[in-house]
């Protein structure tokens, strides 16, 4: 896996026209889905993912294979998403919260039961209502299937923070979906 990543990165750096397109084809669908869910806009997601791949193209010379190429791309993508959201929050003068912030706890009163089969549309809407940090970790863990160890690498947080944010996100989703 790492060898294949290093070879692909080396081909990109050597100016192999097809190599970077190969990298794009391997990862664009998952990254695009992630970005759409992170920032809530298909149009903005297109612009943002373009920036991500252009930055990746410039920075490939710095890729040393310490993590998988996919993990490296996810890290670039999430940095862009969080920058975008922070800038938007500043513009809207909303309160911000950091990834390590504990934030609101689950409600004291028991939440109504979540339907056994959660509608995808309802879940998409509910995910959009999560705080940015919890949404980032939830998407990476429950939607993309990353381990907490990998999420810690991607977002630059501790594994413990990743776990607590997933818990926080699930409890919030439970509350929203049980309404």
């Amino acid at each position: 896996m790492r060898t294949a990543d290093l070879e692909l990165a080396a081909r990109c750096r050597a100016g192999d026209a097809g190599a970077f397109e190969e990298l794009y084809r391997q990862h664009a669908r998952r990254l695009f889905s992630l970005v759409v869910r992170m920032i809530g806009s298909v149009d903005d997601a297109e612009d943002l993912l373009q920036e991500v791949f252009l930055q990746a193209h410039r920075k490939l010379s710095g890729f040393r294979g310490d993590s998988a190429l996919g993990t490296w791309l996810y890290r670039l993508t999430m940095n862009h998403c969080l920058d975008h959201l922070r800038a938007r929050q500043v513009r809207m003068n909303r309160a911000t919260e950091s990834l390590d912030e504990e934030g609101a706890e689950e409600p004291a009163a028991p939440a109504p039961a979540v339907p056994a089969a959660v509608s995808r549309l309802d879940l998409e809407r509910a995910i959009n209502m999560l705080p940015d940090g919890a949404r980032a970790v939830f998407l990476l863990h429950d939607v993309e299937g990353f381990e907490h160890r990998e999420i810690a690498q991607i977002l630059g947080i501790s594994e413990g923070t990743s776990k607590s944010q997933v818990h926080k996100a699930r409890m919030k989703l439970r509350m929203i979906l049980g309404r």
């Binding site: 970077f20 397109e21 794009y24 664009a28 669908r29 998952r30 695009f32 889905s33 759409v36 869910r37 298909v42 997601a45 297109e46 993912l49 373009q50 920036e51 791949f53 252009l54 930055q55 193209h57 410039r58 920075k59 010379s61 710095g62 028991p110 939440a111 039961a113 979540v114 339907p115 056994a116 089969a117 959660v118 509608s119 995808r120 879940l123 998409e124 995910i127 939830f138 429950d142 939607v143 299937g145 776990k163 997933v166 818990h167 699930r170 989703l173 439970r174 979906l177 049980g178």
Partner: protein, 237 residues
Amino acid sequence: MNCELHDDLLDDYVDGARASDHRSDERFAAFEQHLTGCTRCQALVADLTSIRLAASTLDEHIPPPRLWARIASSIDEQQRQPWWQRQLGGTFSAWVPAAVAASIALLLVAGGWNAWQQRRVETPQQVAAPQPETESIPAEQHYEQAIAGLQQLAQAQNGALDPETRAVLTKNLAVIDRAIDESRAALDQEPASALAQESLLEALETKVALLQETVALASDTGGQPEETAGSARELDQ
């Protein structure tokens, strides 16, 4: 039994961790035993499992085919740029056009500031030094005058920047200075080359823009270096 005692295992359990996978961890066995008689935890496990299952089967959003075309076209464009512009990357893309337009006005401001500074230090030789006619100054000299004025402003306000931002801006200036040196060397070899002349002017123009950004950042802080923290992006190396 208190449900909260098991809260740290709840998510692991929903993610598929079972007591049989953690034989040495008695807490899992205790949680599974607790679960058989606790409706609150049973409901939680059921709800969180539903959410997790639904999340893992969400539809993919497909990027439009034009996205790759846009990326490929931008990469081609980048590769046609000189190396130092590629290194600057998107750092200045948003403000360079405006900065370049403003640089004309800044030439006048910087010139005026220079003259004022010279009068302040009262150096007769410098005050008396003949100033070249504006019309006869070649473009390169215009930029150099602007750079000299802006550098003085930037140095005067240097303390207003936080160390990290200052380091990044210094590094960026070193990159652009290298580009200017290389452009000058190319021009020395081929003085008639329009491309070499254009390359030098472009590099000088970028230095003016970078210095303007430095001065603007320092002014924005009002002398509070911490407010510039992380304001400058390091060049892609």
